[in-house]
């Protein structure tokens, strides 16, 4: 039920609509954006961060919740299984069953390697499945890989690693073609031309989509292909530590059966970390658009094994998370809603920004609007601004919402909210980790031979902010890349000894740094169960 304040405010949104539709809002200047971010973006709130005490990134800033996990004990402390007793023996072990892991497994398999995917939940229970808006690639005539590079580099605050970003944009059209050849149904016109739109911060319309099930359509196709190829997938099995040969090289992993609590040891010539993001750590108490297993496991495993983190202090808050009703709190409202024309409007029906600024800028502007400017709408458990969705039907014609963003329409209709006729309330939601493990162009993790990484667990491809549609792209480009490179490296590698010495050494470093923690990591799953009277451990 709408509150009286909401009903009042909607009237104002409706009153200003016709006038707002006459003109495009002004974009902010570089200086305005900088000032806005510094004052309002959560990345700049010092109290949300802590300092890393040990390892390659010692002394650097990290979100407090992630810092706590980096400083926690290994789950294996005191009861590690004998790593030399091998249960699984493969060439390439892929940890993670999302888009990057599946793409990597497909390519490693095609390269002749014996591959296995292990995944904490089911294959496809991943942020890939939930990506709605689309995937970028410069394939239209007025566009080019250089233009894509410029948009992404600038949108990421000129911090991306150039060789990684080059790979991303140069292999983007190939990635779309690869997916299309696997049978992914992209939105096309009757002649086969891709229907592409803008995303925040794009200078050309290069967003390819599969309605607003873009990630789901990609993920279910990749999953189907993994199964068609007969690649073994061990579900409900998480990796709790990597194993090394006693020196530098990664040689496998200790796995945990999530249902029986049994350990297993997997020996592998090469290992690919494709464990995804960290939304379920709820940095700064934000709700999240991420899937249940997004708990930064790969960052912990990789860091203990000697990998360096890059931009671990930059987090993406998606500007338009659902702010109301409570049942949808934090759910993603795809950026495509703004690509299709919906404006962001405050309580008084005023536009306060161009709807297609980059995500960090848009999130900061909404936080300012609901905070210092006090122009947000009260939801009872927070506040939000309007995303004026009925504009889409006026711009694109009746039926546009049902055709282009059916998932959004369905999500709101479940709660009797018809976004075709009524605007929706949004507020930023924790969406993506911009940073992650530092990799080379071939997806190998710098400083850790035998270890590869792809997908959200990687840092550096996007710099300090990622554009819409470049994540679905990076899981394909770098997932495939990691699969090929890991398979090639496996051919030239003999199986190694398996040891957990590096885990013990890391614990000693923590002790020497005076860090003591009762917590264990990786987290594996968020602690959502409420035990009102405490509860057995």
């Amino acid at each position: 039920m709408l509150t009286p304040e909401m009903t009042e405010s909607i009237k104002k949104v409706e009153e200003t609509r016709a006038q707002r539709m006459q003109c495009e809002p002004v974009r902010m200047s570089a200086a305005e954006k900088d000032a806005l971010l510094k004052q309002y973006h959560p990345d700049y709130r010092d109290k949300g961060f802590t300092e890393i005490a040990v390892g390659p990134n010692r002394g650097q800033k990290v979100p407090a919740e992630l810092g706590a996990l980096l400083h926690a004990e290994s789950r294996l402390k005191g009861h590690a299984p004998d790593p030399e007793q091998i249960d699984i023996d493969v060439d390439v072990l892929v940890i993670g069953g999302g888009g990057a892991g599946a793409a990597a497994a497909i390519e490693a398999h095609r390269a002749g390697a014996k591959v296995m995917i292990v995944t904490k939940l089911r294959i496809g229970d991943a942020n890939t499945m939930m990506a709605e808006g689309g995937i970028q690639a410069a394939d239209q005539e007025n566009d080019s890989p250089m233009q894509h590079y410029l948009d992404a580099f600038g949108g990421g605050h000129f911090a991306a690693k150039p060789e990684l970003l080059r790979k991303l944009v140069m292999e983007a059209p190939e990635a779309i073609l690869w997916l299309n050849e696997l049978g992914v149904m992209f939105d096309k016109d009757e002649n086969g031309r891709m229907i592409t739109t803008h995303g925040g911060g794009t200078s050309r319309k290069r967003m390819h989509a599969c309605k607003d099930y873009s990630g789901a359509e990609i993920m279910r196709t990749l999953r189907d292909e993994v199964l068609n190829l007969g690649i073994p997938v061990m579900e409900f099995t998480s990796a709790v530590e990597l194993c090394k040969d006693g020196h530098d090289r990664v040689t496998g992993a200790v796995l945990l059966n999530m249902e029986t609590d049994d350990y297993l040891v997997a020996r592998a010539k090469t290992v690919i970390l494709a464990t995804g993001g960290a939304g379920r750590l709820h940095y700064q108490h934000f709700p999240t658009s991420n899937h249940y297993g997004a708990t930064a496991d790969g960052l912990i495993l990789g860091y203990r094994a000697g990998a360096r983190l890059l931009y671990q202090d930059t987090i993406q808050y998606h500007p338009t998370g659902a702010a109301w009703p409570s049942q949808l709190h934090g759910s993603l409202v795809t950026e495509k809603v703004r690509s299709l024309g919906a404006m962001l409007v405050n309580r008084d029906g005023e536009v306060f920004m161009h709807p297609l600024e980059t995500r960090d800028v848009a999130a900061a502007a909404i936080i300012r609007e609901c905070g210092d400017r006090n122009k947000g709408v009260d939801t009872g458990f927070g506040s939000g601004v309007w995303l004026d969705t009925p504009m889409i039907e006026q711009i694109g014609g009746p039926g546009t919402i049902e055709k282009r963003i059916p998932a959004m329409l369905r999500m709101y209709l479940n709660y009797d909210i018809d976004m075709r006729t009524q605007p929706i309330l949004v507020y930023p939601t924790l969406h993506y980790q911009n940073g992650g493990l530092d990799i080379a162009e071939d997806s190998s993790v710098n400083g850790v031979p035998g270890l590869f990484a792809a997908g959200e667990v990687v840092g550096g491809i996007h710099g300090r902010n990622r554009l819409m549609g470049n994540s679905l792209l990076d899981i394909i480009v770098f997932g495939r890349n990691a699969g090929k490179a890991a398979a090639a490296a496996a051919k030239e590698t003999a199986p190694g000894k398996l040891s957990l010495d590096h885990v013990a050494a890391y614990a000693k470093e923590l002790e020497a740094a005076g860090v003591h923690s009762e917590a264990v990591s990786p987290l594996l799953l968020p602690a959502y169960a409420r035990h009102s009277r405490g509860g057995a451990q």
Partner: protein, 224 residues
């Protein structure tokens, strides 16, 4: 005090706030979910759930993350359902009627009971898309099944043992790969890149100093 309702998880009664989804209500009751919980936002199909409201005959299906609790709700989540996916080489297939007959012949055993459609938490016309598949209308099947999240509620209810989500998926892959026209502009761009037409240009932009990149970025023209 927030309004509460009584719900029964696997037959056991819990009092939970009325505003919660089934999934969050289970966590409120103290459950640590492993199976039956995936994306939590209605896209992955992990949380297929059956329920019946006390005193009512109808057995309902839903996604636990997208459904609000009701008073007297008897709830059981479906941790896993053995749907039957057939293996195939997509490269070796042709988009003709025989494909379905070979891979999923049981679709021809459909008795038209429509239980699949009634069970679909996405409100898809499942029986209709199976009918499309039967007659080789893959595009129709693809369109009608496109919003499928693969929860399997349809298959749970099917007396003919059809694995509907896999049928829809096959139809979509055939449609995406073989039926919808190819994207010539895409193939052309891929070819240009393979031939190295952009190698020098991308190298140039990579080498530019940051100040020049900032200038380029801030003054770039944005397509209307």
């Amino acid at each position: 005090m927030e309004k509460t309702v009584d719900v029964f998880f696997f037959g056991k009664k819990y009092s939970v706030p009325a505003s919660l989804t089934i999934m969050i209500a289970m966590e409120y009751a103290g459950y640590t979910l492993k199976r039956g919980c995936g994306c939590r936002h209605g896209f992955c199909g992990a949380c297929a759930t059956i329920y019946r409201i006390k005193g009512k005959n109808e057995l309902k299906t839903c996604l636990a993350c997208q459904t609000q609790v009701e008073d007297g709700m008897y709830v059981a989540s479906i941790p896993f359902f053995p749907t039957d996916k057939r293996r195939y080489d997509i490269e070796a297939l042709q988009a003709d009627q025989q494909v379905m007959a070979q891979l999923y012949p049981e679709i021809y055993s459909c008795i038209g009971c429509n239980a699949c459609t009634k069970a679909c938490p996405q409100n898809l016309n499942v029986m209709q898309y199976i009918a499309c598949a039967q007659r080789g209308d893959f595009e129709g099947c693809a369109a009608l099944s496109f919003d499928c999240v693969g929860c399997g509620c349809c298959s749970v209810r099917c007396p003919a043992g059809i694995s509907h989500p896999h049928v829809g998926l096959l139809a979509r892959r055939l449609t995406g790969k073989y039926i919808v026209p190819k994207s010539k502009h895409l193939e052309k761009r891929v070819q240009e890149i393979r031939e190295g037409q952009y190698d020098a240009l991308i190298e140039q932009i990579m080498q530019k100093p940051i100040t020049e990149m900032q200038e380029l970025y801030n003054s770039r023209e944005i397509e209307k």
